[in-house]
């Protein structure tokens, strides 16, 4: 198999190398930045697909599922290499900050509520992915936030 050029970012996938593609696909309609076609799968099914480019993203629809791929970047690689490389807790959805539950120097446990975002009339609780100390909080109540924006910086617990 050739070297992978893309990294799957949606849906989340633990290990996308597990199954080797054992079928064939045909591009039926091709226009700049867009493919439409059919895939024959190993189980005998034939399903349609639609691929479209948006900036540096490849959006692919296939048999009801949607995928998003991006070329690997230094940022993405360090993310993959291990969580220790990044201590930024980023916003999962765009919206408005309706509550901040932590302050600088707080010690937090894995799973503890950090920030609550309201998006599309729904509350989204951003929890701490691990134990650590809050180095700084980058948002306050009422702030409008975008997906990917830094909310909280966590550092590992100081060793004592």
């Amino acid at each position: 198999m050739t070297t992978r050029r893309l990294q799957q970012v949606q849906p989340p996938q633990a290990d996308s190398e597990a199954v080797v593609f054992d079928g064939s696909f045909d591009v039926v309609v091709s226009s700049p930045g867009r493919w439409e076609g059919k895939v024959s799968l190993a189980d005998g099914r034939t399903v349609s697909f639609l691929a479209q480019r948006a900036g540096q993203e490849v959006h692919l629809w296939i048999a009801g599922e949607s995928y998003v791929f991006i070329p690997p970047t230094p940022v993405a690689r360090s993310q993959r290499a291990g969580q220790a490389a990044s201590d930024d807790i980023v916003c999962p959805v765009p919206g408005v900050v309706i509550a901040v539950h932590v302050a600088a120097d707080d010690v937090v446990e894995a799973g503890q509520d950090l920030v609550i975002i309201e998006s599309m009339k729904t509350e989204q609780i951003v929890k701490s992915p691990r134990q650590g100390t809050v180095q700084r909080v980058s948002v306050q109540e009422g702030d409008r936030v975008d997906r990917g924006m830094r909310l909280v910086v966590l550092v590992p617990l100081s060793e004592e």
Binding site: R4, Q13, W35, V39, F49, I70, M120
Partner: protein, 503 residues
């Protein structure tokens, strides 16, 4: 009273489009209103006239009663259709309309106010001889300990907000020692959401089905029921899939007695226009209980329209214009089976987290018995300002099995790109043996984690990778290197989807 010549639709999205279409078919001039992010939305293009509400948030725009009434008067509209949500069940808006000489297409302010209060509406139900779930008196922080309340209601029980709706201020309590905390937190949530911290206890019915009856009432008091809708597939107390007839009503005896209760409830509330009486049905005993009555057109009204072959928005408008219902109860005969799937912009694999972005591809399916009520168009930006429902896919078939088959085919042939949708979840839910059997309840989604589990690595996944690689080679790889530096900003957001950051 003559039919209106011009109506303002005070809503957005699919329901605004839906209402505008009927009004235009009736030969009525139409007016749309819109927020800044909705300037290019389909309802704006569809209406004969459209006016900006200036602003982005719901509070600044679709909830601003003064702005909407002023625009309606300026453009010479005679009536306002509120759709659902926003101002649809706001008694102050309904009375403001009346004071300004505009007809509000819906029930009277008094009826809206009565039905909006869970305690008062329950009392009205009891008065009308409609069965209700046993519940306690209300409780507020600072009141005496809730022990006395628990004595009236067995565990497990529900803590509910008196002014509630949409699951806010609601808690399930299974152990007596958890009650105090549940009361406090539910009251706090209710207070911030509705400005009313009153909560009460209600018996919890674990294997409950949510079945509602549509009613139609005119100003003379004539009230018909338009049969039922089954709404038990829910996440976060919000409906996702609805169908009619309900597989829960296994005999017409139960159906008739629930229908009679719905009509009695509507009459006791002095209801006019279309409304919906919601019930819980105990799957074990087939006993039913009044839950609430919704004083508006319901999101899921199309399945009733498909099986009864009538236009609910047309009836709303005619009743508001003072026409009397010409149908009789015997005219209400259901044909076949209809299902509705709500297409939400949300990620089924991340606990249904909302998703926003530009709709790169939106190609609605078609075919025998398929209807799509949609409020979006390809290229449109889906924002975080409003709720996440993009459209409603409706399938009708001569029987339940064929309706499910048509729905599955339609979902499979509905490419949506740019925004993550719940379509993969809907495909799994409708094909699930428990759904297919018809024997499901409101615990359906929670009970089956496989419905929302990240897809396994399989042939489809492998094919996706292969196609994406080939596509990128042909459509992107040359420019990829050049743009890598600039790409960092756009790529950054995807880190947010990391599961560890957002469990």
């Amino acid at each position: 009273m003559a039919m209106f010549s011009k109506i303002l639709v005070a809503n957005r999205g699919e329901i605004a489009v839906r209402v505008l279409q009927t009004l235009q078919a009736m030969g009525i001039a139409t007016v749309a209103v819109y927020s800044d992010p909705d300037a290019n939305a389909p309802h704006v293009a569809l209406a004969d006239e459209a006016y900006s509400l200036v602003g982005s948030t719901a509070e600044e725009t679709y909830l601003d009663r003064g702005k909407i009434i002023e625009l309606a008067l300026q453009c010479g509209a005679e009536a306002v259709h509120p759709g659902y949500g926003f101002l649809a069940e706001n008694p102050a808006f309904s009375s403001d309309c009346a004071a300004a000489g505009l007809v509000f297409i819906g029930p009277s302010p008094e009826t809206i106010e009565l039905l909006g209060d869970k305690i008062r509406s329950k009392e009205a139900a009891v008065g009308a001889g409609v069965p209700v779930v046993p519940s306690s008196a209300t409780w507020l922080p600072g009141d005496s300990p809730p022990d006395a309340l628990v004595a009236q209601i067995d565990l497990p029980l529900l803590v509910k907000a008196a002014a509630g709706g949409g699951g806010r201020g609601m808690r399930i309590v299974e152990r007596a020692e958890d009650l105090a905390q549940a009361l406090e937190s539910a009251s706090r949530e209710a207070s911030s959401a509705f400005g009313d911290g009153r909560v009460f206890l209600e018996r919890y019915i674990p294997a409950a089905r949510h079945v509602e009856f549509q009613v139609l009432a005119d100003s003379s008091g004539k009230t018909l029921h338009l049969l039922e809708r089954e709404c038990s597939v829910q996440r976060r107390y919000q409906k996702v899939v609805e169908e009619t007839p309900s597989p829960a009503l296994k005999n017409d005896e139960l159906r008739h007695s629930m229908a009679a209760s719905a009509v009695a409830m509507a009459q006791s509330a002095g209801y006019t226009n279309v409304g919906t009486v919601e019930f819980l049905v105990d799957a074990q005993t087939s006993e039913y209980y009044f839950l609430e009555m919704n004083a508006r057109i319901q999101v899921e009204h199309p399945i009733t329209e498909e099986t009864l072959k009538l236009d609910m928005v047309e009836w709303q408008t005619r009743i508001a214009a003072g026409e009397l219902i010409t149908l009789s109860q015997d005219d209400i005969q259901s044909t076949g089976h209809a299902l509705e799937c709500r297409i939400y912009a949300e990620d089924p694999y991340s606990n249904f987290a909302p998703s926003v972005g530009r709709l790169l591809s939106w190609r609605p399916p078609s075919g025998m018995g398929i209807r799509l009520d949609s409020g979006v168009a390809e290229g449109q930006e889906i924002t975080a300002y409003y709720d996440s429902m993009l459209a409603k896919l409706v399938a009708w078939g001569p029987d339940r099995q064929s309706a499910i088959g048509r729905m599955l085919r339609a979902l499979e042939t509905f490419p949506v790109l740019g925004v993550t949708t719940n379509i993969p979840f809907l495909l799994r839910a409708l094909a699930h043996p428990e759904f297919v059997s018809g024997d499901y309840d409101t615990g359906f989604i929670a009970k089956h984690p496989d419905l929302t589990a990240t897809p396994d690595s399989g042939q489809l996944q492998a094919a996706a990778v292969e196609i994406a690689e080939g596509f990128w080679q042909a459509n992107g790889s040359n420019t990829a290197r050049r743009e890598t530096g600039a790409a960092q900003d756009t790529l950054g957001p995807w880190q947010g989807l990391s599961k560890s950051v957002f469990p």
